[in-house]
Symmetry: C2
Subunit: 640 residues, 2 copies
C-alpha cells in the first residue's frame, strides 16, 4: 500500500463540548474506505442497540471517503449515518454538491458526533480548526434564512453549510439535511437526529486540497469524460433534462407511481414532465463539484405559487412523490412543495408518500375533513398537498400524525389503513414500481434502509431504457445475458447479488450513479483505474465488490442487533395485487415466486435462510470477524 | 462482447473413426474460457458417472483457452482432462512448452476424444486437417523413439507432439503425457487414459496465428516483462536456477519432504541442490513459447548413469520426489530417473512417492527383498530407485503393484501399510509440507484433484520466501495483512478462499504461475489488462475470480457424481504426527483445528457443511444451474 493514506476523523461530543480527532491507519481506510462503511463502523463499534434514535445516545456521522474531492466527475458525495428514527434500523443518506469536498479540504474525512447539546448550536470547521457556536438565533429558521445568517456572521460567502430546517428541529421522522439549500441527505430521517442533538448546521471551509496519487490519470479521465459524456445516452438525457426526463419514460411504460401506487399511469403526466418544467419554470442548469453534467435544475415561478430559485428544482423522485403519487398535475405546486421541503428540511419522497397515504385514507373515509386540517384531501388537490407539506414540517394537526411516517400513522389510525401504507421497514416507497421491474421488489424488501431505489439502479432491470449499454458495461461482472424485465427468477436473483455490491460500493466511496452506474459513462474499468489513481492502491473490481459487500453486511448486522430479521424483508400487500390501469395494468408480483427469490437471495448471500441473519462464515470472509458477537446471540432466535 | 471470439472444437471418436468439429458461440467461450473448464464442461455434459476410466466410455479432452498462443510470457499451457484412473474423480493436468500454441495455430481450441481405437493410432492435425494414423510401429516405444519416427514419417521436424510412453500403454495409473519429451501433463494419470484408448500421440502443426484484439498492449506488456522480469526476486530465482533452487530453500526451513515425509530435512540436500545440478550436469537453460524466463534445465551425464539431454532436467518436484523423498542423494541417479519417467511416460511425483512408500514398507518388513524384485529397497538406495522407475513403467514385479499408486498398493499389501501411503483421494503427495505451511494442508485435502501443490501456490503461505512481494501483489484481492505461516485459522481460510479462485483461473486460461502467481512479475492488474487486450472483452478481476470459482465447482460436482464427499477431504494420519527432525521437527497439524478449518471452508464456499456438496444457490450464482440435477440426488445422502 504505497500511498500511505493519512486522514483524520473529527470527534465532537455535544453534551460535553469536547472536540478531538483521531488518525486511523491505512489498513482501516483500505478496509472501510469511506462514507457508509465509516459511518456504520462507528455506529457498530460505539453505540449500543435499542437506544432512542432521537436521544443523546444516537451517534451521527458525516463521512467523506478516500476519494472525495478528486477533480473528476462524481467524487463529491458524502454520507450521513445514524440510527434511523423512521425505521429503527440503520439510517443513512448520501448528498452531492460541494459540502463533501469542502470538508475534505478543511482537513477531515469524517465527523463523529455524539451526545446532545443543551442548547441550539452549529459547528464551524475551517482548515482543521473546529468551533461549537451558538445557534439560538438560527433555531426555527428555514434553511435559507439560517444559511444566510451563518455566512454573514462568519463573513465568508464561500462557506459550505449542511443544515436542518424546522422539520428537523421538530423531529419529523423523515426530516432531511440540506446543503446549498438544494442537495439533500434525504432519506431515513437524518435531519431529525441532527435536530434531536440541537445541532442546526455544520459550516465548513477548506483551502487545502489533498495531493492525489496519480494526477495525470485523474486529469486524463476527467477530460475524457468532459469531451465524450454526451455520447452516452443516459448521461446525455440527464444533462439535457435532469432526472425529470424520467417522468415521461416511466409513464409510457406504466410505471409512474400514481395515486399512492394504485396505478402506474398518470393521465396528466405531460403536465409535470421535463418538457413542462423546462417550458414553464426553467432558469438554468447547475451541477456539483468537478462535474460537467449539470443535471440539477434551477426553477422559478410567480403564479399560482412563488417558487424561489435558491432552493433548486425537484428531481424525478420529488416530482413523482409530490406530483403523480398524490395525483397532482400542477407543476408549479410540485415545484413549490419541493421548495418547502428544502426550506423546512423534509425528505420529498417520504413527505409526498405520507400525503398520498393520507389522501387514500381520506378518499376511503378513514380521515375526515376535520382531521385533515379542514382540507378536501382528495388525490389531485394541489393546494392541499402544498399546505400539508408545511403542516408536516410544523407538526400542525394532521401534519403531526404524518410527521411520524406512514407506518406509524397507519398504526395510530387503525381502521385498516395499513393497506395504504406503502413502506418497507417504515421507509416510504420511492418512485419506482416493483410490479414492472422484478428485481426492484427484491431490492426494496432486502435493503437495510427500507424501500430504497438506489440499492441497485432501476434501469439495469429495464429493457426499454438502456439494455444494450447495460449489457456492454456489466460484462466485467460476468453478467452476459439480457434478462426479461418483470421476472424475478434465479438468473435475476444472481444479477441482483452481483449488482448490489457494485452499487453499494458507490455509497462507500460517495460516487454518483449518474457518472458511475453501469449504464453511465464511466465504466467499471474506469472505476478501478480512478480509485487506483486517486489512492495509489492497486485495487481491482474484486476488492471493490468485496468492499460493497462489506457495507451491505455491516448495515445488515446493525439491523440484526436492533431485532430485524427475515420478517422485515417483505413488501406491502399492494405489490401482490394488480396495477389498476395504464400500460402495465394487471402486473403484480407473485407471493410464492417472491418468497422463492428471497430464499435464494439469502442462500446466495450465505445467510441463514430461516432468520435472514448473515452467517459467521460470510462475516469472516468479509474480514468482519469483529461483528460475530453481534449476530451470534440472534442466530438462535426463531422467526415467525 | 465486441471481439466476437470464434473458435473451433475438434471431436474425434476413436471407436468409429469419426471426426467432426463444432463452433461454440462467444457466450460459451466467455463463460468457460478454456483449459480445465472446457474439459470439465464436456466431461460433465457427455459422460455418465461410474464409467471405467480406462474403458471406452471415458472422454479425453485436450484444451487450450481463449488466450493460448498470445505472444507474451505465460500463455502457452494446455489442459488434458478425463476421469482419473488414479483417483476415480476428475483428472486433469496442465503442460507448458509449445504444443498448446501449436494446436491453436492449427485451428483448434480443444480436442474432445471419445471411444477406443481397435488398434494403436496417432492423431495428425495440420492447419485444420485431421487424420487418424496407424501407430502399430510406435507402440512399445519410448517417447523419444516415437517422436523421432513420427517426425520422420510426417517429414517435418517442426511438428509438435504430445505422446505417451510404455507406462501409458501399460495403464500405469499415474502415467503422464509429454510434449517435446520434457513438458509433462504429469498428474492424475492422463497418460493411462490415452493408452487405454490406444492413442499413442497427437502431432500438431499450425501456421495460422490468430489475430488478437489489441496487439499494442500485448506487445507493450511482453516487452515490459522482458525488460524487467529480473527485478522480481521470485522470477529471477527461477530464471537463474530453475525450480531446483527450491531444494535448499525448503531444506533450511525443514520442509523438504524426506524419506516419505517422515522428515522435512535431508542431510544430503546439498548433493541434489540446484548448485550441485548446475556444477555437475548443466548444459543449458530452455523455455516455453514466447517466454524469456527459460526456467527449464537441460542436463547431461555419463557416469554413473548416462543422462540424455533430450529429456530435459528434473524440476524441483521431481528432484524431491525421486531424491529426498526416497532418501537418495545421488543427483545423477535423480536425473536418470527423471529421464526414464519422461521416456516411459510416468509422473515423477507419483512414481517417486510410490517408491518412497515401498521403501518405508521394506524398512518396516512389509515388503521382502524377494517381493522387491531382489532389490535392497532401503531409503537412500539410488540404484534401486532407478530400477523401480523402469519396473513400474513395465509393470514388472513390484513395479506392477506400485503402478497402481500408493492407495491401491496399500490396500493390496495390507499389514498396516496404509499409514505409509501419502495421498489424498489416491493422488500421491507432491513435494510441499503441510505441517510447515498451514494453508497447504487444506489445499491438499479439498482439491478435487487430490493432493495438489498448485491449488494455491505454496509461497503465498510462506513468510521466508517472498512475503512482501506477496502482500504487495495480493492487495487487489483485499488480502492486506501478513499472516503467520503455519496457522490455519479463520484468516487463513479466508486467504485460501480468495487465492483458490485466482490460481484456479490460471488453469482455466492455461497461464503459468511463474509469470502470473501473486509473487511473480505480472500483477493481477496486468492479468486483467492482458486478458482484455487478447480477447477484446472488458473483463475484471471479479469476472476472473468468478471464472476460477466456476472451475472449482465444476470439478467438485464431477467428484460428487462419482460419490466423493466430505470424507474424501482429509489428510493421511502422518500429517497429524510430528515431523521427525530438522528445523521444523515437532511441527504437526492439530486434528480439531483442521476440522474447524475444513468446516469453515465449506461454509465460506457456501457448501453443505455435512456433505461438502456445493449448495444449489452457489451453483446458480456461478451460472452453473445446469449442474443442479447432478448434485440434487447427492444432497440427501448422509455422510459418516
Amino acid at each position: 500500500m504505497p500511498y500511505g493514506y493519512n486522514g483524520r476523523i473529527l470527534r465532537v461530543n455535544l453534551s460535553s463540548g469536547e472536540i478531538s480527532e483521531e488518525r486511523p491507519d491505512e489498513l482501516f481506510y483500505r478496509t472501510y474506505m469511506g462514507g457508509s462503511c465509516i459511518a456504520a463502523y462507528y455506529l457498530l463499534r460505539e453505540m449500543k442497540p435499542n437506544i432512542d434514535p432521537l436521544g443523546p445516545d444516537n451517534i451521527l456521522v458525516f463521512a467523506d471517503s478516500v476519494v472525495t474531492g478528486a477533480p473528476a466527475p462524481g467524487f463529491n458525495r458524502y454520507t450521513v449515518g445514524a440510527k434511523s428514527p423512521l425505521t429503527g434500523g440503520i439510517g443513512e443518506s448520501q448528498a452531492a454538491g460541494f459540502w463533501g469536498p469542502e470538508l475534505k479540504f478543511a482537513g477531515y474525512d469524517a465527523i463523529v458526533i455524539k451526545g446532545q447539546s443543551p442548547k441550539p448550536v452549529y459547528l464551524w470547521i475551517k482548515d482543521g480548526k473546529v468551533e461549537i457556536r451558538d445557534a439560538a438565533h438560527l433555531w426555527g429558521r428555514t434553511t435559507g434564512e439560517a444559511q444566510k445568517l451563518i455566512r454573514e456572521e462568519l463573513n465568508d460567502v464561500r462557506v459550505r453549510i449542511a443544515l436542518i430546517g424546522p422539520a428537523g428541529e421538530n423531529l419529523v421522522r423523515y426530516a432531511c439535511i440540506v446543503n446549498e439549500l438544494k442537495h439533500a441527505n434525504g432519506r431515513t430521517g437524518m435531519g431529525a437526529v441532527m435536530g434531536s442533538k440541537n445541532l442546526k448546521a455544520i459550516a465548513v471551509r477548506g483551502t487545502n486540497k489533498p495531493e492525489f496519487y496519480n494526477k495525470d490519470t485523474i486529469t486524463r479521465l476527467a477530460k475524457h469524460f468532459a469531451a465524450n459524456f454526451l455520447e452516452n445516452p443516459s448521461v446525455r438525457g440527464t444533462h439535457r433534462l435532469g432526472t425529470s426526463e424520467l417522468v415521461s419514460l416511466q409513464n409510457v411504460t406504466g410505471q409512474l407511481p400514481t395515486r399512492n401506487f394504485r396505478s402506474g399511469y398518470f393521465e396528466n403526466a405531460d403536465d409535470i414532465s421535463a418538457e413542462a418544467i423546462h417550458e414553464k419554470l426553467f432558469v438554468k442548469a447547475e451541477g456539483c463539484y468537478a462535474c460537467p453534467v449539470t443535471c440539477k435544475r434551477v426553477l422559478k415561478a410567480d403564479h399560482p405559487y412563488h417558487v424561489d430559485p435558491a432552493y433548486g428544482g425537484p428531481e424525478y423522485e420529488s416530482i413523482a412523490a409530490l406530483g403523480s403519487a398524490c395525483g397532482v398535475s400542477d407543476v408549479v405546486a410540485v415545484a413549490k412543495a419541493n421548495e418547502l421541503c428544502n426550506a423546512f428540511g423534509l425528505d420529498t419522497v417520504s413527505a409526498g408518500m405520507s400525503i398520498a397515504f393520507a389522501m387514500e385514507c381520506f378518499e376511503n373515509g378513514l380521515i375526515s375533513r376535520e382531521e385533515a386540517n379542514g382540507l378536501e384531501l382528495k388525490f389531485g388537490n394541489a393546494n392541499a398537498m402544498v399546505r400539508l407539506v408545511e403542516a408536516i414540517a410544523k407538526r400542525d394537526g394532521l401534519g403531526n400524525l404524518l410527521a411520524e411516517g406512514v407506518k406509524r400513522s397507519a398504526e395510530k389510525l387503525g381502521k385498516g389503513s395499513e393497506r395504504f401504507a406503502m413502506h418497507v421497514k417504515g421507509a416510504e416507497f420511492p418512485m419506482h414500481e416493483p410490479r414492472v421491474k422484478g428485481m426492484l421488489g427484491l431490492s426494496y424488501a432486502v435493503s437495510p434502509l427500507g424501500a430504497d431505489h438506489l440499492t441497485v439502479e432501476h434501469d439495469t432491470d429495464f429493457d426499454f431504457n438502456a439494455p444494450q449499454v447495460f449489457l456492454d458495461q456489466a460484462t466485467p461482472l460476468g453478467l452476459l445475458r439480457r434478462l426479461p424485465t418483470s421476472t424475478i427468477d434465479s438468473d435475476k436473483v444472481r444479477m441482483f447479488c452481483y449488482l448490489q455490491p457494485h452499487f453499494s460500493f458507490l455509497d462507500v466511496l460517495g460516487l454518483c450513479i449518474f457518472t458511475f452506474g453501469p449504464v453511465r459513462f464511466f465504466t467499471m474499468t474506469h472505476l478501478v483505474e480512478l480509485v487506483s489513481a486517486i489512492t495509489g492502491w492497486e485495487t481491482s473490481l474484486w476488492e471493490i465488490m468485496k468492499a460493497g459487500e462489506r457495507r451491505v453486511h455491516m448495515l445488515r448486522v446493525f439491523n440484526c442487533r436492533e431485532g430485524f430479521n427475515k420478517k422485515d424483508d417483505w413488501l406491502p400487500e399492494r405489490m401482490f395485487s394488480p396495477i389498476e390501469d395504464g400500460p402495465a395494468a394487471g402486473n403484480k408480483l407473485d407471493q410464492e415466486e417472491f418468497k422463492d427469490a428471497l430464499k435464494l437471495y439469502y442462500e446466495m448471500m450465505n445467510w441463514d435462510v430461516n432468520t435472514g441473519i448473515p452467517s459467521k462464515a460470510k462475516l469472516l470472509e468479509l474480514d468482519l470477524g469483529w461483528l460475530l458477537p453481534e449476530v451470534e446471540s440472534r442466530q438462535m432466535e426463531s422467526v415467525s
